[in-house]
């Protein structure tokens, strides 16, 4: 029998198959945050249940904490301090490891989880957050769930899943300079739609994926949910092993040797069956930017907003609403569109390698006076590492705000947000209506495109900037 990578991890966690078609899987790690984890913890309290194995549960403060220097429990988001307080109290009560404000390990859950060696290849990991699929970049079976499912996992160490179909996306060729994992995933979603992965677990593979750094693989898998996939996963290799070695919660000593031996078996067998296979030739992938209000509304940076005629009934109606919301017309070029804000951050693109790429473009340059530019490192450790290299000074000298870590303005929670009608070039993952502020217009792009656009005050191809 030939197995896929996904089959192997799934089968090794299968406790029992139910008559009704659901599989009960063992869950290795649970990560919580103060926004929706608090609801799961509060529900456990209310139902007088308890956490079965708190040593496998971790929690961070990322979603609604402020990212201003000198932040406290008080938040610009109204009512935020209640989420913080409930999370802190119930984490303490439940004996959960909490990466609280002021803790050097604090940061965005999906950035912290690999950084601390909590997410591991061949592990199942869930978090009440849709971008948990990020961790598939390490070869983990990781998926986002709701608060009720999270409560189920906390109380039983298991979840029931219907096994999804399987898709393999092979990225062939090689990446052009100035093109990154963010452009690859936007290209895939644009081609096959935001529902293209619906019902599938997706393995990303091929020479281009193998050549990606671990951090770039996390970016690629991060947006599997924007493809509506159950999750994304990449076979772990020596790069992943090197990345995880000596991380605080990663195995060590004898255990490390056993782990590496097991992890080395985690790849798809030749001839294993996929329900669907897609190939992308990366020589044709350009820096990619979204024009609309769905991640599928992505086009090459030298492209034009597509014509309405190319869509059918429901899609046409939705596209019309998107164009009106974004203040754009079919046929308009995306390059050169004036922007009023630029944001680098989020679980998609806020790691050290992302900040280095942006800094290389920003060095010695100034952000346009028409643009408010913000950089929010993905974790406190990313921030510290960036400061050690002097990246913070490059950002600050260019005119960027340099923040404490958190999800920040990736989404608007009622506190800080971008202004209605303003265009934001953003390294985040969602360009939904109002996502970054009521009436705000978000254009998703790579950190390189965000940095270049911030300088020019208009959407810009970073390859035309040169690195000074």
């Amino acid at each position: 029998m030939k197995y896929t990578l996904f089959d192997k991890v799934w089968n090794d966690h299968l406790i029992t198959q139910q008559d009704d078609g659901a599989d009960l899987l063992y869950i290795d790690r649970i990560f919580l945050h103060e926004r929706t984890g608090s609801a799961a913890l509060a529900s456990i309290e209310e139902n007088e249940r308890s956490i079965k194995n708190s040593s496998h549960v971790f929690c961070t403060m990322d979603h609604i904490v402020d990212t201003f220097p000198g932040r406290t429990d008080q938040t610009t988001m109204p009512g935020g301090s209640e989420f913080i307080r409930v999370t802190r109290d119930l984490s303490l009560k439940g004996n959960i490891t909490l990466f609280d404000l002021g803790d050097e390990r604090q940061g965005i859950s999906h950035v912290v989880s690999p950084e601390q060696g909590i997410a591991l290849p061949g592990c199942t990991i869930i978090c009440p957050d849709s971008h948990t699929c990020t961790l598939g970049g390490l070869g983990a079976l990781a998926t986002g769930v709701g608060s009720s499912e999270c409560e189920h996992a906390l109380v039983t160490e298991t979840l029931r899943f219907t096994k999804p179909k399987q898709m393999r996306v092979v990225f062939n060729g090689q990446l052009n300079s100035g093109v990154s994992a963010k452009d690859m995933i936007l290209n895939l979603i644009a081609k096959y739609s935001a529902a293209g992965g619906s019902g599938y677990a997706v393995e990303f593979s091929g020479p281009v994926v193998e050549a990606l750094s671990v951090e770039a693989r996390l970016t690629l898998c991060n947006m599997a949910v924007e493809f509506s996939a159950f999750t994304g996963i990449i076979a772990p290799d020596h790069k992943v092993f090197d990345y995880l070695k000596d991380r605080p919660y990663a195995p060590s000593g004898e255990s490390w040797i056993q782990a590496k031996e097991y992890w080395s078996t985690l790849s798809t067998d030749d001839g294993a069956h996929f329900d669907q296979e897609i190939e992308i030739d990366c020589t044709n992938v350009s820096p990619t930017v979204t024009w609309g209000t769905s991640p599928q509304h992505a086009i090459p940076i030298d492209g034009q907003v597509p014509a309405l005629m190319s869509e059918d009934g429901d899609a046409r109606r939705s596209m019309k609403q998107s164009l009106a919301y974004m203040g754009l017309e079919s046929g308009q070029s995306i390059e050169g569109l004036p922007i009023q804000a630029a944001f680098i951050g989020s679980c998609t693109n806020s790691r050290l390698s992302d900040l280095r790429i942006a800094a290389a473009i920003l060095r010695g340059r100034k952000v346009s006076s028409a643009v408010r530019a913000i950089c929010v490192p993905g974790s406190t450790q990313v921030k510290q590492a960036a400061e050690k290299e002097g990246l913070d000074q490059i950002f600050i000298n260019a005119g960027f705000e340099w923040r404490e870590s958190g999800c920040s303005m990736c989404f608007y929670a009622g506190g800080e947000g971008f202004v209605s009608g303003e265009r934001v070039i953003t390294s985040t993952n969602r360009n939904f209506e109002g996502r970054q502020g009521p009436g705000c217009r978000s254009h998703l792009a790579s950190p390189a495109t965000v940095a270049a656009s911030a300088i020019n005050g208009a959407i810009t191809d970073s390859r035309k900037m040169g690195i000074v």
Partner: protein, 209 residues
């Protein structure tokens, strides 16, 4: 958990694709940890104009604000309904507003499970079928109500036309009987512990103490 057996109700067409959970329940409206009282914020950015200002008012163009769709309990939507954020607040808001079933060509996976866990029935039907149901209800929404029968997995629309749908039997039973998934799984505790006893030898590195 709330049961779902049969339901007859007013259906409102909201035939957009990729309706995300940010649109269903904007993050800015999630002001407390509580699951209740969220219905007033459902589709807030679409239901209200000038939101958050003293000019805030109902948007008359939005389907749920129209008199003929008063007391809607079923939504007809485009594909990939409930994509995006995992926030269960979106489902809690729908339930609090009085929505009991959603009919769509496909759903976001996390949203689909969140619906089931809260007694809200997600029904998958073909886009053309949904378009014809939408046409039918639009003629007279208060009179042309839809009938949903979960036991037989069917929706009845215009002139008694029956549209069958599929739902995994585990989900169907949970909804029909109002069962709680955690209670069911807890009965499997021995199996879970037996799995761990074996697994810890196979993957000792995965266990933290």
């Amino acid at each position: 958990m709330r049961r779902f057996v049969t339901h007859r109700g007013i259906a409102a067409p909201l035939l957009k694709i990729n309706i995300d959970t940010d649109a269903i329940m904007p993050s800015r409206e999630m002001k407390t940890v509580a699951k209740t009282g969220l219905g007033k914020s459902l589709f807030a950015s679409w239901r209200f104009s000038d939101i958050g200002t003293d000019k805030e008012k109902l948007n008359p163009e939005f389907v749920l604000n129209q008199a003929e769709y008063h007391c809607t309990s079923i939504l007809l939507t485009g594909r990939n309904m409930g994509c995006g954020s995992s926030r269960e607040f979106a489902v809690w808001a729908l339930v609090d507003f009085g929505i009991q079933a959603i009919i769509a060509p496909s759903f976001g996976a996390i949203f689909f499970t969140n619906c089931i866990r809260n007694g809200l029935l997600p029904i998958v039907l073909d886009e053309q079928v949904i378009a014809s149901l939408a046409e039918y209800v639009a003629l007279d929404p208060q009179i042309n109500q839809l009938d949903i029968d979960l036991k037989n997995c069917q929706v009845t629309g215009s002139a008694g036309t029956v549209y069958p749908f599929e739902l995994q039997s585990g989900f169907q039973i949970m909804l029909l009987e109002g069962l709680d998934a955690i209670d069911i799984t807890k009965k499997l505790d021995k199996k879970i512990d037996a799995f761990k006893t074996t697994d810890i030898h196979k993957r000792p590195w995965a266990y933290l103490n």
